[in-house]
């Protein structure tokens, strides 16, 4: 088990190398550069060139790539061009809102999605099932930025329940943080809960057709016990997988929702960085998110042990 985890963690390294290279090359091949953004629209070409030299961006790409590897080996993600601080620090500054938002949204998606899926499966081909699945289809189909804007219109502008946008950090009080995250978390979570509901429903349906369920019912187990104790536990592996995937999707979904709700998280960080071509930040955040994806996958794989004693990792 320990060696398995160690192996999986070691496997992060080559992936990180590939991601680092791809992020670097793609960003530098894309047109646009930070110097012209700094210099502003009325600047002359000479001024732009001077700033490019100051930033060290006039060196040939391979040289810059090697410099970037060199720093990575030392665990240094470099310095942001615009934020005037190390990328690592910039990322740490922005983790709090994104992490809280993602966790909150996951909580919402699981607490809506799983019960909806189970109920749908129990009442297979009934009006309830149909209603849930139509709702789920609708949920999957709405882009989260649109849902976000609708929420703002309805809950902030019309009802005045929540602030239009912005984030209140934990240091100013948990309740305020919670309040500032309710709408963005729902905008993100609702969409994912639809996905979860559909997966839970179909895996529950599979399990409910198994012989051991029939056996359980035959020996007189209460329907509640059959569904929640035996069926749900066996339907958990695909469910946990989809929750893991959805958590990862939520992190990237946060990019859009943070923009709409003006939340200074990792998503905003990377969007501003892309628009201004802040190369070190883009590379750093992409690397960070890739690492997070892999860790989530590992956690999901390990969680299988909890639900299925037959699973063994060596």
């Amino acid at each position: 088990m320990k060696t398995y985890i160690a192996r999986r963690l070691l496997a992060l390294l080559p992936v990180a190398l590939v991601v680092a290279t791809v992020a670097f090359v793609l960003m530098h091949l894309a047109p646009g550069d930070p110097a012209s953004v700094i210099a502003g629209p009325d600047a002359s070409a000479d001024d732009v060139q001077r700033i490019t030299r100051q930033l060290g961006l006039d060196a040939p790409l391979p040289v810059q790539l090697v410099r970037w590897y060199g720093r990575l080996v030392r665990g240094d993600l470099g310095n942001s061009i615009f934020l005037r601080k190390p990328v690592t620090e910039a990322i740490i500054d922005r983790v709090e809102p994104t992490l809280l938002l993602t966790l909150f949204a996951t909580l919402i998606s699981v607490s809506f999605g799983v019960p909806a899926g189970v109920i749908s499966a129990r009442h297979h081909i009934t009006a309830t099932d149909q209603a849930f699945m139509v709702a789920a289809l609708l949920g999957v189909s709405i882009p989260n930025f649109l849902l976000g804007l609708l929420f703002i219109l309805f809950f902030s502008v019309w009802l005045g329940w929540f602030p239009v946008a912005g984030y209140s950090p934990l240091e100013y009080g948990y309740l305020k943080t919670l309040r500032s995250l309710v709408m963005p978390a729902f905008a993100l979570g609702i969409v994912q809960s639809a996905l979860i509901a559909r997966v839970v429903r179909s895996s529950m349906l599979d399990v409910l057709r198994e012989q051991f369920i029939t056996a359980g019912r035959a020996k007189g187990l209460a329907e509640r016990a059959v569904v929640y104790k035996h069926a749900l536990k066996n339907a958990m592996i695909p469910t946990v997988t989809i929750i893991g995937i959805s958590f990862a999707i939520l992190i990237s979904g946060a990019v859009v929702v943070e923009q709409v709700f003006n939340i200074p998280g990792l998503g905003r960080l990377i969007i501003s960085a892309v628009l201004r071509r802040d190369y070190p930040v883009i590379q750093g955040v992409v690397l960070c998110i890739a690492g997070l994806y892999m860790l989530i996958n590992l956690a999901v794989d390990l969680s299988y042990i909890l639900f299925d004693p037959r699973v063994r990792y060596q």
Binding site: A30, P31, G32, D33, P34, S36, V37, I38, A39, G40, P41, D42, A43, S44, A45, D46, D47, V48, R50, I51, Q54, F82, L83, R84, A90, R94, L149, I152, L153, S156, V157, G160, P163, V164, A165, G166, S168, Y172, G173, K176, Q259, V260, F261, N262, P264, R268, L269, I271, S272, L275, R276, R277
Partner: protein, 518 residues
């Protein structure tokens, strides 16, 4: 200890209610001290060093902190700010500036001639307009702690306007800050302005607070000059990239000012009880910049065909929707600048003459080479202007390859003459024609024309206002005959303002001194 915005606004609202109940009606228009003003900006400032960028957002934020020797009055002519007076000698080639006494920097130090000399030299070395200005400067030195002498190579008609310019302006930093920074960004944000810089939390806010020891001028407020008062306790510039959220935020009172609201929202703002629409008139003019250096547009006849083909009304209507926000006018300067506005060459503006365009294309032997036009959707109007113009041009035989990219790509690509033929942009309101980007030879497009350069140089030297205007007429005549760039039309901006904000004048520069919250 900072309070959350909700609490602040609740307390404010309560205080306002009490104040309204207690104060007799006549006294209510007295400016009130206090309050936090939150401004929803379109994004993040790329730097806070004003010597280093022409980005408007940096000027809008930092000019509450930094000040210049001169500034503009309400007619956009230069009046002294940090300067007290000046004397001209040596046939207009030596300017002696007396500085005001008792002006303090935010670090407590008193403003002295050495700070001015160091700052002006850095501006002349780094800023785009500064370098232009400095071509005519022999040197600048401190004569005594409150006297600065500037030696020019030749007379100058634009000296004060150059020193007054806010965008990428000649702001005065303390000498130590200049020395510590060199050509890099300044490390401390220190000026003499009515507001003091506190912090910049990227993607959260830039925070300014009232500078209690601010030395305001005693003359009455006039435009951006005269007495500047910091009524507000605090100003927060909050980056809110989504335009719908900016407006919704002002509607609910989250922010008091929302920058760059889409023009088609005017009618909606009029129906919102707590809001007024601030129209920035003029904001700038939309233009298609042509590449004179390389490619198909380097042929004058092709440029003339381009100019002849266009019908500006549908182009501008598509870009700005509401008629209250655009105007068809040939002037390189605006009708709002009567001292500069000109109709010279105006018959070549908005010709709507596809027949003439076809003929010119034929004469030029245009063979259908695609014209690469780079534009962006980051400014919706640029894209929409270009889209309609493309249809009109293609009807005359042009082949337009419209390349839609993001703004960062556009501003980079336009510096490479081999990469494009036309690009979209806006020429922002500019009070001094001598610094006009529209006529600059070194700027992308490389519109360099012998006669035009001579008139521009003469205009920069000339001090007689009437003669200068006549020269500007000549430049505009050439602008149309040679098709320097293609002006599409004037446009105006929209700012959403909450009714409790008083004393706010909607302008491109956006000043928040003398603004107070009721």
């Amino acid at each position: 200890m900072r309070r959350a915005p909700g609490v602040v606004s609740a307390v404010l609202a309560l205080a306002l209610l009490l104040a309204a109940a207690a104060v007799p009606a006549t006294a209510q228009e007295q400016p009130r001290m206090g309050g936090v003003l939150k401004v929803a900006m379109i994004g993040e400032p790329p730097t806070l060093d004003l010597h280093k960028t022409t980005a408007v957002i940096v000027q809008q934020i930092t000019w509450h902190v930094y000040e210049t020797l001169y500034t503009y009055d309400k007619n956009y002519t230069a009046i002294p700010l940090l300067a007290e007076s000046h004397a001209v000698s040596d046939k207009g080639r030596t300017y002696t500036f007396k500085l005001r006494h008792g002006v303090k920097f935010h670090n407590g130090k008193e403003l002295a001639a050495a700070d001015v000399v160091a700052s002006l030299q850095r501006w002349g070395r780094l800023a785009t307009p500064g370098k232009q200005f400095w071509k005519n400067v022999e040197g600048v030195e401190a004569k005594d702690p409150h006297t600065v002498v500037m030696f020019l190579k030749d007379t100058s008609g634009a000296l004060f306007m150059g020193l007054a310019r806010p965008n990428n302006g000649a702001v005065i930093y303390p000498k130590e800050v200049v020395d510590a920074a060199g050509d890099n960004d300044v490390k401390e944000i220190i000026g003499t302005g009515p507001y003091r810089f506190v912090e910049h939390k990227p993607d959260r806010h830039v925070k300014l607070v009232r500078f209690k020891e601010y030395a305001a001028r005693s003359d009455a407020p006039d435009g951006f000059g005269g007495k500047r008062m910091a009524y507000l306790d605090e100003i927060l510039f909050v980056p809110v990239p989504d335009v719908a959220v900016r407006l919704a935020g002002v509607e609910t009172g989250e922010y008091q000012l929302g920058m760059q609201i889409q023009q088609d929202q005017l009618d909606r703002i009029k129906t919102m009880p707590g809001l007024v629409a601030g129209i920035i008139k003029p904001e700038g003019w939309s233009t298609a910049v042509l590449n004179h250096k390389q490619g198909v547009m380097s042929d004058k006849r092709v440029r003339q065909a381009f100019q002849a083909a266009l019908d500006m009304e549908p182009i501008m209507a598509a870009g700005f929707g509401n008629k209250a926000f655009y105007r068809l006018d040939p002037g390189m300067s605006f009708p709002e600048q009567p001292q500069w506005h000109s109709t010279a060459g105006g018959e070549l503006y908005n010709q709507k003459n596809p027949g003439k365009a076809k003929k010119l294309l034929q004469e030029a032997g245009y063979n259908g080479t695609p014209v690469r036009w780079i534009t962006t959707k980051e400014y919706q109007w640029m894209f929409k202007n270009a889209l309609v113009a493309k249809q009109q041009l293609e009807a005359t035989g042009f082949k337009i390859d419209l390349q839609v990219v993001d703004w960062a790509t556009l501003v980079q690509r336009r510096n490479k003459p081999e990469a494009w033929d036309v690009f979209s942009t806006g020429i922002t309101f500019n009070p001094e024609p001598a610094f006009s980007t529209a006529a600059a030879c070194g700027w992308p497009g490389w519109w360099c024309h012998e006669d035009k350069e001579q008139w521009m140089a003469a205009m920069a030297r000339e001090t007689d206002v009437r003669k200068r205007k006549a020269m500007w007429d000549k430049v505009q005549q050439i602008f149309y005959e040679d098709v320097g760039r293609v002006k599409l039309g004037d446009f105006f901006g929209l700012t959403a303002v909450r009714k409790e904000v008083h004393g706010f004048r909607p302008t491109n520069e956006m000043n928040l001194w003398n603004v107070w919250l009721k």
